[in-house]
Amino acid sequence: MAEYSAFSLLANALKGNKDWKPAWRKPDPKASYDVIIIGGGGHGLATAYYLAKEHGITNVAVLEKGWLGSGNVGRNTTAVRSNYLLPANTRFYEHSMKMWEGLSHELNYNVMFSQRGCLNLAHTPAQFDDYARRGNAMRHLGVDAELMTPAQIKRLIPALDISSDARFPVVGGLMQRRAGTARHDAVAWGYARGADRRGVDIIENCEVTGFLRDGDRVTGVTTSRGDIRARKVAVAVAGSTGRVMRLAGIETMPIESHVLQAFVTESLKPFIDTVVTFGMGHFYMSQSDKGGLVYGGDIDGYNSYAQRGNLPIVDEVMSEMLALFPGLARVRMLRSWGGVCDMSMDGSPIITTGPLPGMYLNCGWCYGGFKATPASGWTFAWTIAKDEPHDFNAPFTLDRFHRGLVIDDKGQGANPRLH
């Protein structure tokens, strides 16, 4: 029977909620595993879950240097969408979207996936044409997309300034209705519980300090809690990819680490029931179920491993918010935070075998790691189990730059701060 059900809620409520089991155990690390996953964030936990569920590989450890979900899975703005232009991205993120649609049921854990839609605003006729092109590309691959007029947009988001004397008048938008938001912590906890119940050891406060090697081959890791051997070592550490790969002797990667800030206001009454993005700069906003407006903009734009931001971007994001919603000028910002993204050279992720024998690498998510969580875990588990990529992640190799097969959705070239 499902662990969380109407019956179990009632039964536990009547017994004073004393009989709930912890969602995951706190095991000590064993001497060896079939697979070690470095990184207890969304992608690492999802990978462990699908390794156990889809491939029957349950002798798995997830090593997390802090506490579970303390990195990017708890630091993002929770948007989920699959509105990409290039086929490799569209297929991958649409697979992820389909997984999101069944995720609460799959995990028996309410990830609060809310398909409230994601609307990209266009502010020039050329930009509107570009969105039409992207919408057509999406529909060719079976993904929902619709163009909206300013009048339709005003009905959807009454607070939006669509007047012709707005600083950047709205000329239309591209809407993906199936897009939306999810409760980011619940995604981590749901995957953690699912993996734990299938036998995966989730080991927190266990920092990887080096790799065990047999010649070129990676045979395990050294950690703050001792050496752990494994047949396969998978790395899913988001913004720390550069640091962890250096421990394996890999000095350069097609990645730069940049900090991305996000913000939340005090709680408001229902104000906006979709995700909206500003096409004239870089701004995105939605309202959380608790009432706070959750929003963000550009990365700070220079290499950084500091999980905090600088004021110029705060200023820029606030300006963009007020350009769209002048009515928010007196709403107070409650808090801000920063997460470290590994910005890749083409804006697309890397999910691959290697780069060393016995190693598997999942990185380069730029802004987009959260929405990718289910498909990232699912394809990475496939890659680890079978030593080859699934069709969905076959284009996302590490050597695609070398081979001239970049997946540059924004057409910005090898310039991480612009993706």
């Binding site: 350069t252 680490s257 600088n310 110029p312 050279m345 090898a414």
Partner: protein, 98 residues
């Protein structure tokens, strides 16, 4: 974050544009060394600590600067003109200022 431009003095980071990793070495334009070009375009050191980078004082004197900045703390330990020759002359000028 303040960057001390050798010509203009300490200025807010908003006056500057990040031009990226200063460790990269552009191969000779005539070079057909594929590996060297590939490394120049795509490979990054991305250190957690001191990072050698290029900034332009785009909202000021427009000089290109070589900055050493700690990527964990944002602490800047050195700023110099990116072009050595021009840098030495201009730095003297800056020092001459009262």
């Amino acid at each position: 974050m303040l960057i001390t431009c050798p010509y203009c003095g300490p200025r807010d980071v908003i006056e500057f544009t990040y031009q990226g990793d200063g460790n990269r070495e552009r191969p000779d334009p005539a070079s057909q060394n594929f590996e060297a070009w590939n490394a120049y375009v795509y490979d990054r050191l991305n250190p957690a600590g001191d990072h050698n980078e290029i900034w332009q004082h785009s909202g000021g004197c427009r000089a290109h600067l070589r900055v050493v900045r700690n990527t964990l703390t944002h602490e800047i330990s050195s700023v110099a003109f990116a072009s050595g020759d021009h840098g030495s002359t201009a730095r003297r000028k800056a020092e001459d200022k009262p």
